[in-house]
């Protein structure tokens, strides 16, 4: 959500957003049936979400967007009998898509770019890594922008998810839709008939499966210690994958047999770390979750939640393909910004300066709360 910003910046954003929606409105197609979904919007900065909204037709939905130019658009993963009802239990949940969220942050590597810092007390700021403010000693807030490398890492995680969903859960490719979230991660929507009715408790089990939580290691350990080959163990699913990977890492089953129990246990732990799919558990368990609308703008970055075809996944570059705006030169007052890259170009770092940037980069910094619109 857009943080506190000047009116001029907000008006600039709204103009740019309008251009995008005007041109691309036909791409905004909510999941069917539209009249059973709840919609939510952030319409103005600093105001709460406008939600419990429903539409009877795609036309009404598009009209609403072009009239309001929302900063963010959300649609429920669930189908409801009465999606407009303000009381959650009276909405009457019918079923819900499976929804997965992978965040670049949880994938745990840090951007290679030097961050910026802002003192939370006196407001001093600069480029670099500082825990304490040099003038007043107060703690600082670090500003980091997501890097291409982090997003790549998150994309690898998404591919892992897709593999497990396909091989273990039997999800057909045509029932799976993958998106760049528009900011720091990826979303996967699963719309497969038999999974729509899985309850919250069942979804919790799916989450534990993906995160490999609650794994009973006893059986695995016994097989591993006996040095049994993968062909001779009756394992399936995640356990089989773990087993195969441990054997592979050890080099051979003979080596495993010769290893100490603690060593094998340690290897097992490492393999679990490697194989688990780092989804956000809360998102998947919550059937009432509102998902960012596909092909809508994410106002935390000004980029689009973009659909990625499965075959394009390996080569997808969000910092290229999810950009919504043109490159018209725009003047921006930047307080502080670490170096960042978009559309193959590198910008910054900036500190207390007025800079000329292409519109997409200007929108990006404004959405990140790092710059204010100065004119064209």
């Amino acid at each position: 959500m857009v943080r506190g910003m000047l009116q001029a910046s907000l008006e600039f954003l709204k103009r740019e957003f309008f251009k995008y929606y005007y041109e691309n409105i036909s791409r905004l197609v909510p999941p069917e049936p539209i009249r059973n979904r709840e919609f939510g919007f952030f319409l103005e900065k600093g105001r709460g979400m406008f939600r419990h909204k429903c539409f009877n037709s795609l036309r009404d939905f598009h009209e609403f967007i072009l009239n309001e130019i929302p900063l963010d658009i959300y649609v429920s993963a669930a189908n409801y009998e009465d999606p407009g009802n303000r009381n959650m239990s009276e909405k009457k949940l019918v079923n819900a898509e499976l929804f997965f969220d992978i965040d670049a942050e949880s994938v745990a590597i840090v951007s290679e770019e030097e961050p910026a810092w802002i003192c939370q007390k006196c407001g001093q700021h600069s480029i670099g890594l500082r825990d304490g403010c040099p003038s007043c000693g107060s703690p600082t807030e670090l500003v980091r922008l997501v890097s291409e490398r982090q997003l790549k890492e998150a994309l690898r995680e998404t591919e892992k998810l897709i593999r497990v969903l396909t091989e273990d859960f039997g999800i057909a490719p045509e029932n799976m839709r993958v998106f760049y979230s528009g900011n720091r991660g990826y979303h996967v929507h699963v719309n497969q008939e038999d999974f729509l009715n899985v309850t919250g408790e069942g979804r919790r089990e799916i989450v534990d499966y993906l995160l490999i939580q609650g794994l009973d290691e006893k059986e695995l350990l016994i097989f591993l210690k006996r040095g049994m080959s993968i062909g001779s163990v009756s394992l399936k699913g995640v356990k089989r994958r773990i087993y195969a990977r441990v054997v592979e890492k050890a080099g051979s089953v003979e080596k495993l047999r010769a290893s100490r129990r603690e060593t094998v246990l340690k290897m097992l732990e490492n393999v679990v770390e490697e194989l688990k799919v780092r989804i956000d558990p809360v998102v998947t368990i919550d059937m009432h979750r509102l998902m960012r609308m596909p092909e809508s703008i994410n106002s935390s970055s000004g980029m689009v939640k973009r659909r990625i075809r499965l075959e394009d996944l390996p080569s997808f570059n969000p910092l290229e393909e999810a950009i919504a705006f043109g490159d018209e030169e725009t003047c921006l007052k930047v307080k502080i910004a670490p170096r960042f890259s978009l559309r193959g170009r590198t910008f910054g770092p900036f500190k207390d300066e007025e800079v000329e940037l292409p519109a997409y980069a200007a929108v990006y910094l404004i959405c990140k709360g790092l710059g204010e619109y100065a004119g064209r």
């Binding site: 959650m88 909405k91 929804f99 309850t199 408790e201 069942g202 089990e205 534990d208 794994l215 998902m291």
Partner: protein
């Protein structure tokens, strides 16, 4: 219907066959039940409920099966009787008793029959190699999440291409859960009091009498309270623990997981457990942290389901328990939280 099928419908009277047989051959309206010579069926129905209350299992003998009309008819009558009593505990015990009995009988069936019963109960199983049966993941999740043992967790199962693999016994357990759900749901349907024949009312009294006898010496029934957050089963354990009574391992697990689910801190929970006679700080801390997922691989333990609590003899339901399957749902069937966005 072939002879064999009729016997099977008598053995498993929740199967659609039994329902069809009855609706084709017998007028099941309440007014006519008295006239159709259903005396014997009524008697058997009372026995079913008593079996459930006393032995926690409804037994069906070969002789019962041969009396197939009586047997099949006694099942819907027993459900009517249980609904009339309008007592949550009896509803749950009856459902448990029927499902347990069915489970026991299913273990002796051929694979073919077992798969047939499963199919009819909406739990389609596909034979896999070497005595294993495959069940679709969503079907499995719907039934198995309530089991507490680690080997039922999906992460510990053989999962492949949309299916969970299991042995015959486990498959029968899944069917048992579905039978339990089915019977329980049926007993929730209200029975119009005016339409009930007098013989039924007498049968109900007979059941209540047995129940009262079983209850003497036990803690008195939980009176209906103001709606609170804590379900009666857990409230009861907490009260007893507060009095310094020594709680069983399972009781402690229930209370601790419940408190964790309600976001109480580890410190608070340890403090609460400190009243236990065998209290040891380090041990308690270790166990609570384990349950909270702070130790041991980060797996947070969930609160056991109503069925598990019931099986452990700790369910003391009140009216707010009606229709729920998990203590955290207490008082709010179908309720939903405020959604968040992603």
């Amino acid at each position: 219907m072939t002879g064999e099928n009729i016997l099977m419908a008598a053995r498993y009277p929740f199967l659609p066959e039994a329902r069809e047989f009855i609706s084709r051959n017998i007028d099941l309206s309440l007014e006519s039940l008295e006239k159709t010579g259903s005396e014997a069926a009524l008697k058997r129905a009372v026995e079913r409920v008593k079996n459930a209350l006393i032995f926690k299992e409804v037994k069906v003998t070969a002789l019962d099966e041969l009396n197939y009309v009586r047997e099949m008819l006694s099942f819907p009558i027993a459900i009517i009787l249980v609904s009339m009593i309008m007592n949550e505990y009896i509803r749950r015990m009856y459902a448990l008793g029927e499902s347990r009995g069915a489970y026991r009988r299913m273990l002796n069936e051929s694979d073919e029959t077992l798969l047939y019963i499963g199919e009819k109960m909406g739990i389609r199983g596909v034979p896999d190699n070497e005595n294993t049966i495959r069940v679709k993941i969503p079907t499995y999740l719907k039934l198995a999440y309530s089991f507490h043992a680690p080997h039922w967790k999906l992460v510990n199962r053989a999962v492949n291409n949309g299916y969970v693999l299991m042995g015959k016994t486990e498959y029968a357990r899944l069917i048992q859960v579905e039978v339990n759900n089915y019977v329980y749901e049926k007993t929730l349907e209200p029975v119009p009091a005016e339409a009930v024949p007098n013989s039924f009312k007498r049968a109900v009294e007979e059941i209540i009498e047995v129940w009262n006898r079983l209850e003497t010496g036990k803690a008195s029934r939980i009176p209906l309270r103001e709606r609170e957050d804590t379900p009666p089963c857990i409230d009861r354990i907490i009260k007893r623990m507060e009095n310094g009574e020594n709680a069983s391992h399972f009781e402690r697990l229930v209370v601790a997981t419940f408190m964790i689910a309600r976001n109480r801190s580890v410190g608070e929970i340890i403090e609460f457990f400190s009243k236990q006679p065998d209290y040891k700080y380090s041990v308690t801390k270790y166990q609570v942290e384990h349950l909270a997922g702070i130790r041991g691989g980060g797996k947070k333990y969930s609160v056991p389901s109503c069925r598990t609590i019931l099986t452990n003899g700790l369910c003391y339901p009140d009216e707010y328990c009606k229709g729920i399957n998990h203590p955290l749902r207490y008082g709010e069937r179908n309720a939903a939280g405020e959604p968040r966005v992603s």
